[in-house]
Amino acid sequence: MTEVDQAAPARPRVKAAGPGGWLGRLGEVRHLGLVAALVLLAIVGLVTRPENFATASNLVSILALASTIGVITVGMTFVIIGGGIDLSVGALMALASVWATTLATQSYGPVVIIVCAVLVGTGAGLLNGILIAYGRMVPFIATLAMMVAGRGLAQRMSDQRTQLVQQDNSMIVSLSTTRVLGLPLLVYVFALVVLLGWLLLNRTTFGRRTYAVGGNPEAARLAGIDVRRHTLMLYALSGLCCGIAAVLIMARTTTGSSTHGDLYELDAIAAVIIGGTLLSGGRGTIIGAILGLLIFTVITNLFILNGLNTADQLIAKGAIIVAAVLLQRRTLKTPT
């Protein structure tokens, strides 16, 4: 999955140094492109729908829409930086939401529901990790199998029906309906996950080792890192995020269903990649991934505000993705 780069050699000879801290600056510059794309989209929104786009409630809506998949994106960022991929995220979220809303689980009350969702997600993620790290399966195939089986299990448990969150457990739903300082609780959950993810990735040895495991597993091994155990933990982490996302989707839709999270894997991977993470691992940032995700969310919001039909939405979306990436490239070339 190498980016072809003919005019200059493969090693990124980005103009060096200066006092600002090279890594930091690259980070900023990289994000600058994404921020520019977001700003452009916002301008489009302001021009086309001045009365709807920039309202507080619309911005809250966008954040609420982004939060479920945002939580998943955080986990996906870790997995991809660590050199893997997780196709099972959507299915795991669905499975966790179904498991947590069975009659049996619901009878124990909201806390058990949440714990159940989180445990199911983490457990399935662990299984992914075991298959990949110890069964030495290719991540793509192992998580594909998990995706297929996970959806199947979710259908089986729910008998292919949509399971409502019962009245007694409406505490779950209040995550979406209760607002603090104008924002629904689930947006805070999202923000917290992003913050913790950022800290974990950038400030802890676990995070930095993730880069090593993804960028050069052999070097990581020689440096005494237990690459297998680390890989296992990355998938467990992604599973954990799916569990949290399941709680959020239950809050938002008031249901658990085997259809939840359809194609989330693609959206999450796309957000991570557009955010500048290499699919081959070893590089990437959480902030970039979240910005990438927001771009996708804002695009959809703009389309619906403007009443585009599906066909035009798809065409425009394709064009915008291309434009955003080319814009980002341009920004990279001429940093401020």
Binding site: D159, R161, T162, I249, T253, T254, T259, I304
Partner: protein
Amino acid sequence: TSNEPAATQQASAPAAAPVAKEGNDAPGEKVVIGFSAPAADHGWIAAISKNAADAAKQYTDVEFRPVEPTNDINQQISAVESLIQAKVNVLVILPNDGQQLNQVSRQAMDAGIPVVNVDRVFPDKLSYRAWIGGDNYGMGVAAGHQIGKTLKDKGVSNPVILEIQGIATLPLTQDRSRGFADALKTYGFTVTAQQDAKFTVESGTQVATNLLQAHKKIDAIWNHDDDQGIGVLAAIKEAGRDEFFMVGGAGSANAMRDIQADSGVLKATVTYPPTMAASAIKIARLIAQGKGMSDLLEQQVPQSITLASETITKDNAAQYLPLGFES
């Protein structure tokens, strides 16, 4: 929801009543019925598969042979081919797309296997022996009248009417929308905005969240499908909006209970009964055994049966509730 298995039984059992009579229900010649439908990834289709299986279970003379439900045309074709090879006596097919499965269905007919076409119709009449299905256009008309009449009665002029479709690329969706627009036209109204929500709860939430932002004041919403409607209602609740009313589609038990309780914006739903699958199994059995419908004078099963789309409101919800499918 699946939380009440008892209700499922109810859903199909009474449905059997109108078609089957004692005489016809008496065990006859052994019949193998092949069944193919799209993937049961959503309430209505799940109810279809369930109803079919339950109906088949009622008969000792029926061997029910369902094949992998799939949303891939190519695979459904193979599935039907495999049923033809297995030499079943009669086929019940709910195609992903009538046009695309036409050819393989025709093959079955040519091979002497009668086909009962459910819901999405084959364009070629030589491709099926009998068709039973809902009236998509009529469903749109029913919803259109319900909304049009209510708004007219309220004296609203230039109302904001939103439509949340299912899967936009399905012909049935387009039929529904056409019926809806035509009916509204009789009141001088038009659809303000239209989006599709893929028949899933989650997509319902997402589309509705955005639509509610796009329109600050809404008068009415028609949502094509009660299953995705759960998500739509969740989004409406989250946004705290209630200045409009909503009409659902398909007729899930859940929606009927909401309508009966009259607690939210959902005031009515127009039916599109999945019981048609149960009826189709019964018809298939009769065709294979060479019998007619005992209520009718004809010796053979009719060529086509179109189910009426009925409008369920607070007033008649109780009566329809047993027929509602659990989403």
